[in-house]
């Protein structure tokens, strides 16, 4: 944001409600985005982030509430004019498969802005150059990688000279190796003054670096908002804190009768790889999980649940929830066999009991070593 521009609200949302088949997705949401501001929207899935974004250009019709864009209520605007003001980038790219990259970018300006073909083509080449795909003008979508497709999609949206850009999880459908090329393009757009941007993303580091402000959405509202440092370092509210600490988790319900250890192993390994845990850490984790299961949990409890998560600080957290009488393996004699594993591998072990269930929270040490039992 350039410091000398007067601060005006580009988008203002008041009391926005949206229900899908009886499920309330947005519940009386209030928010605003200033002119030239870059806002990231984070939060758990199902929080209504995408729906919120799609309501802004009326891809979804709000049930209730008011949306004001550039000082005008959208109900009083020509919906096509409104959409031309806002570029949108989708999770699935949605490039037109019958058109080349160049034609994808030229289509809207020539049809809607009545730009001449030559002019549109010149602009398209410039935009392709800007997203680093100058050589791919005549490539068709199926000939481009996901990252390249998404960059073309960004160029396509920019071709309409929008004042606002909406990004709906632009990197979620990409291979991890292609995430950065797309984030790079968005970042360079953010660096140019003037463009107002709203970005729904799961890339926390990116959100933190690129945003002027961060919305944490939960339960259909903007649950907490603030500058990136506040949200990521000093979240004020419980849910925000929980979300930032444990960005992602995988849960497993384990039933001894039909427990498939190989499938379980594979899923845990997938999870670990997705979060780029080191090879050695992954191997050690699987080893001691096997030991814990074989010697303690499976023989004693028929059914229990296991969850694994990676925090923003890249610590691995685990939680076991098991039924039965109060049993803290760190103090009870029955936990004798596994106590050593816990002590060696986890920096924190916390036992609690809640509603007749035993809850064991563990945080793995970062310096896990291959130290099996016996």
């Amino acid at each position: 944001m350039s410091p000398d521009a007067p601060v005006t609200k580009m988008i203002e949302v008041k009391g926005l409600c949206k229900t899908f088949n009886g499920v309330s997705v947005l519940r009386n949401l209030d928010a605003f985005v200033n002119r030239g501001e870059i806002v990231s929207i984070v939060g758990p899935s199902g929080a209504g982030k995408s729906t919120f974004l799609r309501c802004l250009n009326l891809l979804e019709t709000p049930d209730e509430g008011q949306i004001i864009v550039d000082g005008v209520d959208v109900d009083k605007m020509d919906v096509r004019k409104l959409r031309m003001k806002m570029g949108m980038v989708f999770q699935q790219f949605n490039l037109f498969p019958h058109l080349s990259a160049l034609e994808n970018i030229m289509l809207a300006p020539t049809s809607l802005l009545k730009m001449s073909k030559a002019e549109a083509s010149d602009q398209a080449y410039e935009l392709l150059d800007k997203v680093g795909l100058a050589g791919k003008a005549w490539a068709f979508p199926w000939e481009l990688s996901g990252g390249q497709q998404q960059r073309v999609a960004i160029a396509r949206a920019l071709a309409m000279h929008p004042e606002i850009m909406l990004f709906d999880e632009p990197t979620s459908a990409l291979d991890p190796t292609m995430v950065n090329e797309v984030l790079g393009v968005i970042r360079s757009l953010a660096d140019e003054a003037g463009m107002t941007m709203a970005i729904v993303t799961h890339e926390m580091r990116f959100a933190r670096e690129v945003s002027d402000r961060v919305f944490y959405m939960d339960q259909g509202i903007v649950y907490e908002e603030g500058d990136p440092e506040q949200i990521f370092e000093r979240p004020r509210r419980d849910r925000t804190r929980a979300f930032i600490r444990r960005v992602d988790t995988a849960r497993f319900e384990i039933d001894e009768d039909n427990f498939d250890f190989y499938s379980f192993n594979a899923q845990v390994e997938d999870f670990a790889m997705k979060h780029l845990l080191e090879l050695e850490l992954r191997q050690v984790m699987l080893l001691f999980l096997e030991e814990l299961f074989d010697t303690f949990f499976l023989p004693k409890f028929h059914k229990f649940s296991f969850a694994i998560g990676v925090t923003e600080k890249r610590e691995v957290e685990m939680r076991f929830v098991y039924p039965g009488r109060e049993l803290d393996p760190m103090t009870d004699s029955e936990g004798l066999l596994v106590r050593g594993i816990f002590e060696r591998n986890f920096s924190s072990v916390h036992y609690s009991r809640h509603d007749d269930e035993n809850i064991l929270d563990l945080v793995a040490r970062r310096d896990l070593k291959l130290t099996p039992l016996s």
Binding site: R83, M84, G87, F93, N94, F96, H98, A108, S111, A153
Partner: protein, 568 residues
């Protein structure tokens, strides 16, 4: 995204690969050769024939026409012989000539006509049973029938004509004045001499029904009784009969060409006033009509090949495998046979013109039906996809109806029920029937093409600011078009082939033309194979037009053109 255009990664020009074309012609050659081999398979052992009674033998195979009086009588007369059924006398005669059967039984007039055309054939004396040929008429017009019966009595020489002097010259003057009666004269000319000339007859002066002519439906697939001569004129025994009847009645009568199968329907719907088709008086073939008195006797007779025939005064020798010495049979080589068949089918009397006209009719119907059908299909697809039930349900009903009803039935309903009173050409009725059918299938294909488009693409276009119509024009239409092109092409080819049924409503398309030629040359094989090849080539040529369209619609082609790699 990748699977949207699975084939486009390939080279679009492969559609015109010469390799495929070579395969095509090779396959064609194999089919033709195989057909010739099958057709020319060895002749059966020969048994000499002297008279009708010789045919009652287990070694004899007799050809008979299905569902005729001659059929049942022949079975009764020759219980030991084997019967083989045929659809029409032409095919039967062909079968006799190539040795498939030893004899054929049919109405004597026809047999004498065939024998007159081909000296290799002999009609045995004696008969197996009697037939009486009469005129059929709708029951509602007793006066017409009464006059017809009067005419027939004079025609057969059973009644004098002294008090009809003024009519004698026109209506009853035989060409050969020595004939006992007009019936004999006409029988002599049309059947025994196979003379296809219509004598010059005056038109009725001051007809009683000027401007509202009676309609005589005549089966014109039935030489020499009723047929279209190569110069396009409808002639035949019955045509002459009608002209003379008109003179007698002093009334205008127009000849409406029909197929035999259509006669009963035409009589039933009262679209004709007389029905001719060499109808047996007692055949019961036509339950909606009343019959006149018989105008001709047509006893069932038997015909054999001359090489098998031994005249009565010779001693009979049953000698398998030996042909009588005095007859020489042409031994034609394979190439000569093809050449002769080709000449007979295409060159004699410029018969290729019939094929050419038939082909043009076929293409005309195909193209009109495709254009009309595509428009209907778009409408139907739009209605079927509509959110409004009152648009969707009629479309669903339409599809269910069209897909569940044979196209032939729809064609007949349109021709005989819906458009009976409307002045519209038969070709147009056929095109409409085929278009209705085409629309049901093509519309569903279009729906599949449109429904299969990723909703995300439509959303992306909407988000850019496109309106509904532009989304359809710029996104949905081009993608769906390219997707459905292969099945659409198939549907088009199928339509082209389905046009072969239009002969049922008296349209002379390619198939009908080949029928006519077949009826003329008494050769079933060559005209049919030739027709098959003409259809094949036409379908292939028209399909390659679609292949070119597919090639042009391929986005990769556009890139090549943009980069100047190709010039098409």
């Amino acid at each position: 995204m990748r699977n949207l255009f699975p084939s486009s990664a390939g080279d679009g020009s492969s559609a015109f690969a010469t390799r495929r074309r070579r395969w095509f012609f090779f396959a064609l050659l194999v089919v033709v050769l195989a057909a010739f081999v099958i057709q020319g398979r060895g002749r059966q052992k020969d048994v000499a024939v002297r008279s009708l009674s010789d045919l009652n033998s287990s070694k004899i195979v007799i050809g008979v026409e299905k569902d005729t009086n001659a059929f049942s009588r022949t079975i009764e007369t020759f219980p030991l012989a084997t019967m083989r059924r045929y659809d029409d006398p032409t095919m039967m005669t062909e079968a006799l000539k190539n040795g498939e059967v030893d004899a054929i039984a049919h109405d004597r007039p026809y047999l004498e006509y065939f024998a007159a055309l081909d000296p290799e054939l002999v009609v045995l004396s004696g008969s197996v049973g009697e037939n009486s040929i009469a005129v059929a008429a709708p029951p509602g017009q007793p006066e017409l029938l009464r006059q017809t019966n009067e005419f027939i009595a004079i025609f057969r020489g059973e009644r004098g004509v002294e008090n009809l002097n003024d009519k004698w010259d026109g209506a009853f003057k035989p060409v050969d004045s020595s004939s006992a009666c007009l019936a004999d004269d006409m029988y002599e000319r049309w059947f025994k001499a196979s003379d296809s000339r219509l004598p010059e007859l005056p038109n009725p002066s001051n007809p009683i029904n000027a401007g509202r002519p009676y309609v005589a439906g005549i089966a014109l697939d039935n030489p020499p009784v009723g047929f279209v001569r190569d110069d396009g004129e409808a002639v035949g025994f019955e045509v002459e009969f009608v002209k003379r009847l008109a003179l007698y009645m002093n009334a205008e009568i127009v000849v409406r060409p029909l197929l035999f199968e259509e006669l009963s329907r035409a009589l039933n719907s009262e679209t004709i006033d007389f029905g001719f088709g060499f109808l047996d008086l007692d055949s019961g073939r036509c339950s909606y009509a009343v019959f006149s008195d018989p105008y001709l006797n047509a006893p069932t007779a038997v015909m054999v090949r001359r090489e098998r025939y031994v005249a009565d005064d010779r001693p009979v020798v049953y000698c398998a495998g030996m042909a009588p010495a005095q007859i020489t049979v042409d031994q034609l080589t394979f190439a000569q046979r093809i050449k002769r068949s080709f000449e007979k089918t295409f060159l004699v009397d410029n018969r290729w013109k019939l094929f050419w006209k038939g082909l043009l009719v076929t293409i005309y119907i195909t193209v009109v039906a495709t254009v009309l059908g595509t428009l209907l299909a778009v409408l139907q697809c739009w209605m079927r996809r509509s959110k409004r039930a009152w648009l969707r349900y009629p479309a669903k009903t339409y599809i269910a109806f069209m897909q569940g009803t044979p196209i032939l039935v729809i064609l007949l309903v349109l021709y005989y029920v819906v458009f009976t009173k409307v002045s519209i050409t038969g070709e147009m009725v056929a095109a409409i029937a085929l278009a209705l059918n085409f629309a049901a299938y093509a519309g569903e294909q279009m729906r599949t093409g449109v429904d299969g488009i990723d909703k995300g693409l439509i959303e992306a276009a909407v988000a850019l600011g496109f309106g509904r119509f532009d989304v359809f024009r710029k996104i949905i239409f081009p993608i769906a078009c390219r997707r459905i092109m292969p099945v659409y092409k198939g549907e088009f080819i199928s339509l082209l082939k389905t046009t072969s049924i239009v002969g049922y409503v008296a349209i002379q398309d390619l198939t009908k033309a080949s029928d006519i030629v077949r009826g003329r040359t008494y050769e079933a094989f060559f005209p049919l194979i030739a027709t098959a090849i003409i259809y094949l080539v036409t379908a292939h040529l028209l399909a390659s037009g679609f292949a070119y369209l597919e090639y042009r619609l391929d986005p990769v082609t556009r890139r090549k053109r943009a980069k100047g790699e190709v010039n098409v």
